[in-house]
Symmetry: C2
Subunit: 457 residues, 2 copies
């Protein structure tokens, strides 16, 4: 191992200190999901390639980590495809599995596979890793924890409202400042793209999605560059220039869509969601109808939402979600799904920057028994055993190194108390405890060792 | 999604019911590791290929799941190697990362990388998934949870003793029957292979490892088939035929190794570990010196141990570990490591068969608010909100379906209480709670709703 060892690009190790912070956040998320009566499931880290591809969009498919087939299977390599520079075809001949890209497509596979054993609406949460071969940047990793809640089998708008309320509850529990939660509807975007004479909303969605970075002018510029006609762009301008309250925007749009039933349905739904959400006592989210919100993933069909990090922290979205009608079972509206996702790593980053992690993440105390000779420790294990049975953290220094070295170890590891039972103490049937914070030493009767240490723990 | 959807071979989904069992076991393991003052770390799911290969043995290297390079990198495919049937060379040209095969090699990478920031002895635990492209069978999956504790930077035998005690504590906390914990030492096996005039212990280790399945006769037969000479086999027979207590076996072996210092060191160490372990109050493990224990992984250099499932359950090893002197930093004895591993999935299987999971894994109660009309639920969110803030699990049925359907949902989901506030109840300012287990209905004042539900939760 002479070469330099590193974690792969875009991945991280976590120390015990960092894990305690992550555990704090994960517990808040899970407790909140449970309070809303979502039930946890877990799925495998990788799925069959056929399960994953074609659901997210072409660009996203290319960001999947594929797993190389093992053993003789790689003999099937399509070297013709390689020669012809058909790289996707070549890689697909070498792989039939990929690490999951999100938790939504695995969920839809889970539901399809267990259709007869589940009761609907099926409300599940899932907190597992996902992997994306993206360029790493601040708050964006190639391996990261995704925390999702989804409701499958019920298309009612109350699901949207409950999920918005989950964002609110989580951010309240975290004592976060108010976050912006933007909402839109793909059916409205479809209507706009029809008014623009486009084949599909996908022609403008990626550009719209950048509007918070490049601004209104930037969007118009990029659309012109894409050879979208001036008359089409003018149609879009009407929508992008809408001002006023959510209700004002809704009223203006409704007047535009008099003949497009699907888009009118989208507007009606949006109005219901926004109005009902107010009754759910939102404290920590500011719900805003934003016509420029498009969201990349191609499986969304109805409501889409996205939570931004506060303006002063430029780390992008910290959550988002939407309704997907055709993902679980094509054309079966009973299995419409709606779900949201928390960007765990980015929220961790925010809590750090905002100093919102509790000061004391772990209040349990730890004890080190000094080692005065490997031939003299015979009587210690009985005490230590009893303490550990009470889940009191204690250890015996593993060798009879110099006491100074043992004390250094205690200091470096942040051990709270050192327990001293040398030959002298054993003779007198006493023991000493040294408080490593203030250096104070106390002496006790050896018979009371378990109860005395328990008092301090 | 018309084709049949499945999890990939050797992987599993987990339902909420199964996850509660797994959480129970994981908590016992983690609490025990913490009581011994091990600190948690986590490492990425995949590592650079150079970090992983060459550490486990050739056979094991072939069982790694490699990750296909993304984008243009696969143009580097070594098609010459494919033509010449050099499959490993071909696959290595397509991949520079692999899913981790165990948690020990990632740990050694972690320690090497953070050498200057860690204090030694470094005691860590880690509970994460590992992946192996093995043929799946009962209790053996391609994705499974590994739970490890390791001590790095201290070669003292007390570490072995503490880890044996961890097995004992965990199995005691789980109320398991007594398990057999077999112990051996690679230095003794090296001495035996020298007496047999073999180049390396690896010539016999895989056969010895099968002795619990094929028996003494089977081992001799396989060695003969492998063209190992009769005189060599006779040397081995002396060791395999040893009977009596651990101490008897140790004495006999010592008499054989008069001139082999390294093997004598191994015997001395073994004796110390066995004798000291007795003082650590072993309740749930039966510690047996077993000369046929070899363990496959090639990085072990000293003590090796293995825990078998009770005889009546034929699911193989449920844990094991050993000392590795050269894995973290070659030739640096300060960083000798010792660690053990728990086979989480197999222990789960055992707890199930032995009926050792607690009856009530989750004691919290759940409440469903019936939905009497989406236009009539305005007043419910305030109550529900207050309850959820107290982490009481409650939900409102998401649509105004027939009450019968809503009650069916409550039954199927195992909801404990249904809360009834229809038009009539609102008028009278009351609410009703139906106990779904016995059907009993009680009526309360609507003002007391939060406190009444809290009493039941």
């Amino acid at each position: 191992m002479s070469q330099k060892l590193n974690t792969p690009k875009g991945t991280r190790d976590f120390s015990s200190f960092e894990l305690k912070k992550r555990e704090y956040l994960l517990n808040i998320l899970k407790n909140c999901f449970k309070a809303f009566n979502f039930q946890e499931i877990q799925t495998p880290s990788f799925e069959n390639l056929t399960t994953l591809t074609g659901k997210y969009g072409d660009e996203e498919d290319n960001l999947m980590f594929k797993i190389l087939s093992s053993g003789d299977k790689i003999k099937k390599a399509d070297t013709e495809a390689l020669k012809n520079n058909k790289l996707t075809k070549f890689s697909n001949s070498l792989s039939d599995k990929a690490l999951r890209y999100d938790l939504t497509v695995p969920l839809s596979r889970f539901v399809s596979q267990n259709l007869n054993n589940l009761s609907f609406p099926f409300k599940r949460f899932q907190t597992q890793l996902v992997w994306r071969a993206e360029r790493p940047q601040r708050g964006r990793y190639r391996e990261f924890l995704q925390c999702d809640v989804d409701i499958i089998g019920e298309s009612n708008f109350l699901n949207e409202v409950e999920c918005i309320k989950i964002y609110d509850s989580v951010f309240k529990r975290l004592s976060m400042p108010i976050v912006n939660l933007r909402i839109n509807n793909r059916q409205i975007l479809d209507g706009i793209s029809q008014l623009m004479n486009l084949d599909s909303v996908n022609e403008i969605a990626p550009i719209l999605d950048k509007s918070d970075k490049i601004g209104y002018e930037g969007v118009i510029k990029k659309l012109t560059e894409k050879n979208i006609s001036d008359s089409s762009i003018n149609q879009l301008k009407f929508f992008l220039e809408l001002k006023g309250s959510n209700q004002d925007k809704i009223n203006s749009i409704r007047s535009k869509f008099t003949s497009n039933n699907i888009s009118i349905d989208g507007v009606d739904l949006l109005e219901k969601i926004i109005n009902t959400s107010q009754k759910f006592n939102l404290n920590n989210v500011n719900l805003t109808f934003d016509l420029s919100l498009a969201r990349g993933l191609s499986y969304y069909t109805g409501t889409i939402i996205e939570v931004s990090s506060p303006d002063e922290f430029n780390i992008g979205s910290i959550g988002g979600g939407g309704r997907y009608d055709n993902l679980v079972q094509e054309k079966n509206p009973r299995l419409s799904g709606f779900g949201i996702s928390f960007g765990f790593d980015r929220i961790c980053l925010l809590l750090d920057e905002l100093n919102l992690f509790p000061n004391e993440l772990d209040s349990s105390k730890s004890f080190l028994f000094l080692n005065f000779g490997l031939d003299k420790i015979d009587k210690l294990p009985v005490f230590i055993d009893k303490l550990r049975e009470k889940n009191i953290t204690c250890e015996i220094y593993p060798s009879d190194n110099k006491i100074k070295k043992q004390m250094d170890y205690a200091n470096q590891k942040g051990i709270n108390y050192v327990v001293i039972i040398g030959e002298d103490e054993f003779k007198k049937s006493i023991f000493k405890i040294k408080d490593m914070l203030n250096g104070a030493e106390s002496t006790f009767n050896l018979n009371d060792i378990v109860s005395e240490i328990e008092k301090l723990s």
